[in-house]
């Protein structure tokens, strides 16, 4: 189709979808309504299980299987990226030239690195208490490592980043989640049952298996993001095609 024809088909489609969505919007419960039966039950159960952060309770206890699927998507996507951005047969690696970084930027980034790392770990560790959790903290912690790229250059980052280890870490995090879930089966009850002692509300060890699953996710996400960014950085900085530079 040429651009004009495409635009007509598109406008027809957009008009239909718009009519559908707007009609539905006016039939939805009004914004801010009091009708949240599932939500109310979830809050009730979260408190009964001594998990202060009800969202973490839903994520890692009541609907932990969703999170399992979500982490598998992350795992699959990272594996897919590793496969898709591999060094092809007609490509080779070049060593990037060292970068010149202004002194204040370097100092700032190097100071920030440990701060960001600690913040990331803090967000993971407090997942069942305050906003945050394995995913959010994992991403922040992984970002911390990449400050080295900003402070120095890619080669410096590569030196402290044993990629193989991170790939294994990604898989171990995923496996840890799966196996923690299987503990319920060994106890003779359903998969992903929260069978550990619940602790007291609002303490670090509260919530039974919630902190364990949370930690597994934190590990997987941090490793996965490092691997993911490594593949993109490799492509952007190091990998070239044969004959590209003669």
């Amino acid at each position: 189709m040429n651009r004009r024809q495409r635009l007509w088909v598109l406008l027809l489609g957009l008009a239909g979808v718009a009519a559908l969505l707007v009609a539905a919007a006016f039939r939805l419960p009004t914004f801010g309504s009091d009708f949240h039966p599932y939500g109310d039950r979830a809050v009730h159960e979260a408190l009964a299980r001594h998990t202060a952060n009800a969202i973490a309770a839903v994520n890692f206890d009541q609907r932990a299987f969703d999170t399992l699927g979500e982490e598998s998507i992350l795992f699959g996507a990272v594996l897919g990226t590793v496969v898709l951005l591999r060094q092809a047969r007609d490509e080779h690696q070049v060593t990037p030239a060292p970068a010149r970084v202004a002194a204040p930027v370097r100092r700032y980034a190097l100071v920030l690195l440990p701060v960001t790392l600690v913040t990331g770990l803090y967000i993971v560790a407090h997942g069942q208490l305050t906003p945050g959790g394995g995913f959010q903290g994992g991403v922040v912690a992984a970002t911390a490592l990449h400050l080295l790229y900003i402070a120095v250059d890619y080669r410096a980052l590569e030196r402290i980043r044993p990629l193989g280890l991170f790939e294994v870490g990604d898989a171990v995090g995923e496996a840890a989640y799966l196996i923690t879930g299987a503990a319920g089966l060994l106890a003779g009850t359903a998969y992903l049952t929260n069978a550990l002692p619940l602790g007291t509300l609002d303490s670090l060890a509260s919530g039974g298996t919630v902190p364990l699953l949370n930690a597994a996710i934190g590990m997987e996400v941090a490793c996965a993001v490092v691997v993911l960014l490594a593949r993109f950085l490799d492509q952007a900085v190091e990998i070239e095609e044969e004959g590209d530079r003669s």
Binding site: G32, N53, I55, A56, I123, P131, G132, G133, F135, Q136, V139, V140, T143, V225, L228, L229, F232, L233, Q235, A236, E240, E241, G243, D244, R245, S246
Partner: protein, 93 residues
């Protein structure tokens, strides 16, 4: 007051989303996307969803734009290298 904040955040998000689509050059779009991530963070906070706000912040304002930028850089480097290689090939004979 809460409703005013939510309405403001919603309008900001709508504007940022429109900008992210209207800016058609990918590197510039990455900037618009990162602002979309930030406005979404604001919206989620006023909708009382701090957990989602944190994830959106980590993903939308840092990770996604960075990946977009790296892809742009890779694609650019390719075409740049190709132009250089062609120029050299032309100079040689």
């Amino acid at each position: 007051m809460a409703d005013l904040l939510i309405a403001l955040a919603l309008l900001l998000v709508a504007a940022a989303a429109t900008a992210a689509v209207a800016v058609r050059e990918p590197a510039r779009q990455a900037l618009a996307l990162s602002l979309l991530g930030l406005t979404l963070t604001l919206l989620f906070t006023v909708l009382q969803a701090p957990d989602v706000a944190l994830s959106q912040l980590a993903v939308g304002s840092a990770l996604t734009p960075l990946l977009v930028l790296l892809s742009v850089r890779k694609a650019r480097r390719r075409s740049l290298d190709r132009v250089r290689a062609e120029q050299q090939a032309e100079e040689r004979p």
